[in-house]
């Protein structure tokens, strides 16, 4: 998902080893009872580290996620679509902001988190390393990518860390229009000219498999699932969420009259689920490792925005310091 790199190994010390066993037991009991953990509460170092990583990856994904869709704001084919897309991309910035704020309560500043993204140390969702080549990609992203994100985010509204859970509640509420606007774009294209319908089919062909990869590697290979489930940082496994997504999405695609790019896709009467073919995990690994079609462009765009903004942020801080100095001088004068 937006935090799929979490499935990699945690390089810190093992959870709980040097820590007070009694406090750890109390913490685990609180989490097991679905009590919320707040920033000031005691927490195991590994919980803090894992959460900081998960929330900041989620934030980075929102921020990098502004780029592929932002790519089409100036080219949106109607003013109505333009307004919706602009509002959606802006929402993603807002969601990144809420999430950075939640991560900051764990003791890492936004500046440090952004630094980790720009230096390549922190990861973001693999999905945003794919290009948006036609207008239909904006529809496919809303429908599939936001659809997949919602599957993941709704359970996170009940996650154990209070600030994360509260950010997710706000995000889920605001995102409710995102998937619908994407599906509406697809529907309009599918009901349009043959060229438009072909555009929609091409977008589905290119986004379907990357969307399935968003849920991360299969449970058997996922390094962190057990602990994250116990800590209520994660509430369903990768495979559970992926299956939920496929079951929900396939009928929507058929309604559009589109064909999924998977010859093995079939409905299994016995289980009541849609069965799908093998995901190309090598492609997933390559994209995460930096070899996706747009990894370089995405990071370069973020680095450029950051570097071009340095003088602006410096100016704003310098002005604030001048004001404080003037105020102090005026107070001094008044006191004399």
């Amino acid at each position: 998902m937006y935090t799929q790199a979490l499935n990699q190994k945690d390089s810190g010390p093992p959870a709980g080893a040097p820590e007070d066993a009694e406090r750890l037991a109390r913490f685990e009991a609180r989490v097991a009872a679905d009590d919320k953990i707040e920033p000031n509460d005691w927490m195991p170092a590994a919980y803090r580290r894992t959460l900081t990583r998960q929330i900041s990856q989620h934030a980075h994904s929102e921020i990098v996620g502004m780029l592929p869709e932002g790519n089409w704001i100036t080219r949106a084919p109607s003013l109505r679509r333009k307004a919706a897309l602009l509002a959606k991309v802006q929402d993603e910035g807002g969601h990144g902001l809420y999430l950075y704020a939640a991560a900051e309560t764990l003791g890492t500043s936004r500046e440090q988190l952004v630094d980790q993204l720009l230096s390549g140390k922190a990861k973001y969702s693999s999905i945003f390393n794919y290009p948006t080549l036609t207008w239909a990609d904006i529809g496919a992203i809303g429908w599939l990518v936001d659809g997949a994100a919602i599957m993941n985010q709704i359970p996170l509204c009940r996650t154990s860390f209070g600030p994360y859970a509260r950010a997710m509640v706000r995000i889920c509420k605001e995102e409710s229009f995102h998937q619908r606007q994407g599906y509406e774009i697809m529907l309009t294209l599918c009901r349009g000219t043959p060229a438009q319908k072909a555009m929609a089919q091409d977008a589905l062909n290119r986004w379907w498999w990357p969307a399935l990869m968003m849920f991360g590697p299969p449970d058997a290979e996922s390094a962190h699932t057990d602990q994250s489930m116990r800590w209520r940082i994660k509430r369903f496994t990768n495979d559970e969420l992926r299956q939920q997504f496929v079951d929900a999405t396939v009928p929507q695609g058929h309604y559009l009259g589109l064909t999924f790019p998977d010859p093995k896709l079939r409905f299994d009467e016995a289980s009541g689920h849609w069965q799908f073919g093998e995901i190309d995990w090598e492609e997933f690994r390559q994209v995460l490792a930096g070899n996706g079609p747009c990894n370089r462009e995405r990071i370069e765009a973020r680095r450029a925005a950051h570097a071009d903004g340095v003088w602006v942020r410096e100016a704003a801080l310098a002005h604030a310091a001048k004001r404080r100095a003037r105020k102090a001088a005026a107070q001094q004068l008044a006191a004399e």
Binding site: N40, D41, G94, Y98, A167, R170, E174, A320
Partner: protein, 95 residues
């Protein structure tokens, strides 16, 4: 090398007339005026607010969770502060 920190501000929003300001989240801004604008642009995009407070995060003093017992548990047995502690016969009606 991370750059200088932009101050963090806590944002409180009054959603409707008559309600108290409620914590909505936080923003980064160089000063109070820009924090107010950032709060408006971030947290009232869907008409959620009538009034905004911004407070430097550093200005907030929070109670320590370790003190939870001493601060909040002593009130737990003071049931006489609650209306249901007192018996009023049904015939008297709602009070």
């Amino acid at each position: 090398m991370p750059e200088a920190h932009m101050p963090v501000w806590e944002v409180f929003i009054r959603a409707r007339a008559g309600l108290a300001h409620r914590h909505a989240g936080s923003v980064h801004a160089p000063d109070a005026e820009m924090a107010l604008q950032a709060a408006r642009d971030t947290y009232t995009r869907r008409g959620e607010g009538l009034s905004i407070w911004v407070v430097p995060s550093a200005a907030i003093t929070a109670s320590d969770p370790v003190d939870k017992g001493s601060l909040f548990e002593p009130t737990a047995d003071k049931i006489y502060r609650h209306p249901t502690f007192y018996e009023v016969p049904d015939e008297v009606g709602h009070m």
